[in-house]
Symmetry: C2
Subunit: 384 residues, 2 copies
């Protein structure tokens, strides 16, 4: 998973932005290495650069084409916003397996509306026949759990002679491992665990239903690939977000191909007894880094990290260092020191981002290293 | 003023960090282009890289050698922390005119203690004969204002065969343009303006006194250059911090050389009637950028910038963009769009940093361009 957006260029794109503004300097005439092939129409423009490993996005009349179900995710994941973050990024990552960032343009989901998604996420009932969750049978010991927590849609477009055409779609389905409920409003919250195999089976059935419904939506062709990606929501009290555990693709109609399992784990450093890390070498590396960093000032620095594993292989690490600074020169010196310590101690070969935060929680400096690079690049942030 | 810390390497430095940790991987054996000449002693280590345009700092027994008057600045500038930021960075910038980042090592001030600085910043009295501010004559219409608001010290060291030696010093003196006072505790705050020429004259007299006192301090040689830099504090309600307006150097003893005036102005964009900007072209550029950005989402984005001018020449710009995001893909698309708009509209040839903040005030993405570069480099931040 690559978070670094890279550099964005493209004469065409910069030119698009310049439309309607004769006074500004066109600074984009040099240094372009973009391979943008899009053309301006009255209908849409595109963010980003085709040469990047990030998708370009769709702008319509100078405004981003936001999701038709915008905000549903925020609402569904209000108790652990890291779920939403991982859900969005993970869907994009899986999509890259099928839709290359060079050929496809990303569009926020335009076919599932807020009301549709909310209906589907509800319980099945006379009033809501499309509810994917089982009928309400009360809050007794045999309570039917809420299995499906969120549904996301991403559209992958092609530019056919200036006309954006839907060429692929990814549907993410977030499944609960915990069912939270209240017996009365404002009462205490009860928790029911959902067995993993039950969650997986239920998810497969829901995936098939959703695929069939999506194929029927006006504007969704029968013959574009639709990827269905299954996400396991992390518990509300988890320090990490959930992760995708499987995906399947339907190339045509309502037939879904074989399920492919994923073994992605999100973890937090430092490891604890209830929160272990797949690889103890990484744990040692982090602990050494932390020891070196946290005593730099007389006041102790907090050092934590979120990391993602594919199986036992560390894929990326996002480090947060929080301390109290008494001057700008302390920020600069600390950033230099963190860059050295990170290079010496943190695992090689993976992309690492480090944020240095002041005691007010604001980012003071930012360090990053791409996969395969030795050095960290540092930025001291100001004006915050 | 260059804020980008650049990349930090150096086999020697990485090796220093590795002392006492046999298990970690030495990832520094490749890619080194540092020109570090320091050697390890039992006494000190150094942060950073001699090849950088930032000073390296002093580490003692694994801990940063903090200022002997650490925290006094935070206390003195509590009503406008931007003063402190500009004070620290500005002192370093002026120091670079005299002490090259290649040859000199930065050390937080070790010769003026908290108690000394607090005494000097106080009013002159029987109990405090060293107070630089005039005697208390009450809070009537002829009240003696508080002229001196803060005093900072930076030491510039040379490494002589593994021994750090004081080779230069910069003293910053922060002068008030406004004198704030209360007639009774917890009462309303009154303000008295200090005429500019009076402030400058008083500052020159204080500079001479401070130079004489500093030369007498044990460990401060008579023949090292001491730079005295004069800072005008911004008012408490200012959206920008103050700036340095003059400096002079004493190469020997207590004789201070000619004063050299500076014309540094810190401004905020968008400009307002009470807060103008020296160059209207820059104002247009910023407004175009802002217009393009703020309507990207249905919800309006806030777009502001802090910039620094030397005379009428824009030197650098720090942009803050704040908006509400509903998904990670929105953050990515917005960052791409901001990169394009910044390249098209913002002034060329100066270093620009852009922070993209969520509605919770946390940094979500960061873009930067060095002076002379065309493209912005983007980073999507996670794990925050």
């Amino acid at each position: 998973m690559k978070r670094k957006a890279g550099a964005f260029v493209g004469i065409c794109l910069a030119a698009l932005l310049l439309v309607g503004c004769g006074k500004s300097n066109n600074s984009s005439s040099s240094g372009s290495n973009g391979t943008t092939t899009t053309k301006k129409t009255d209908k849409f423009q595109i963010t980003g650069d085709a040469g990047s490993d990030q998708y370009r996005g769709v702008i319509e009349n100078g405004r981003y084409r936001v999701s038709k179900s915008r905000g549903v995710g925020v609402q569904q994941d209000a108790n652990n916003m890291l779920n939403l973050k991982n859900f969005d990024i993970g869907m994009t990552d899986i999509s890259k397996k099928f839709f290359s960032t060079q050929s496809y343009i990303f569009q926020e989901g335009q076919y599932l509306s807020t009301s549709t998604v909310e209906k589907w996420l509800g319980r099945q009932s006379k009033d809501n026949p499309d509810g994917l969750n089982p009928v309400d049978n009360g809050n007794g010991s045999n309570r039917n759990p809420m299995y499906v927590q969120q549904i996301g849609e991403q559209d992958y477009m092609k530019n056919n002679n200036g006309k954006l055409t839907l060429a692929g779609m990814t549907i993410g389905i977030g499944m609960n491992q915990k069912d939270y409920y209240q017996k009365q409003q404002y009462g205490p919250t009860f928790t029911q665990s959902i067995p993993h195999d039950k969650m997986v089976a239920q998810g497969k059935a829901d995936a098939q239903k959703i695929l069939e419904r999506v194929r029927k939506i006006d504007g969704v062709p029968n013959n574009i690939p639709i990827v269905i990606a299954m996400f396991e929501q992390a518990p509300n009290d988890s320090l990490v977000g959930g992760s995708f555990y499987a995906y399947a693709v339907s190339n045509n109609g309502t037939k879904l191909g074989d399920w492919k399992d994923l073994d992605i784990k999100n973890v937090v450093f430092p490891a604890t007894s209830t929160n272990s890390v797949p690889n103890s070498n990484d744990e040692h590396s982090f602990e050494n880094f932390k020891d070196k960093i946290q005593n730099f000032f007389p006041n102790l620095a907090g050092v934590t990290a979120q990391a993602q594993y594919d199986g036992n292989t560390l894929k990326e690490m996002n480090v947060n260092v929080t301390t109290q600074f008494y001057s700008e020169t302390e920020i600069i010196s600390f950033t230099q020191y963190v860059a050295q310590a990170a290079q010496s101690y943190l695992p090689n070969k993976i992309p690492i981002n480090i944020q240095i935060l002041g005691s007010d929680g604001k980012t003071q400096a930012f360090l990053s290293r791409n996969a395969g690079e030795g050095k960290f690049e540092s930025h001291i942030l100001t004006g915050n």
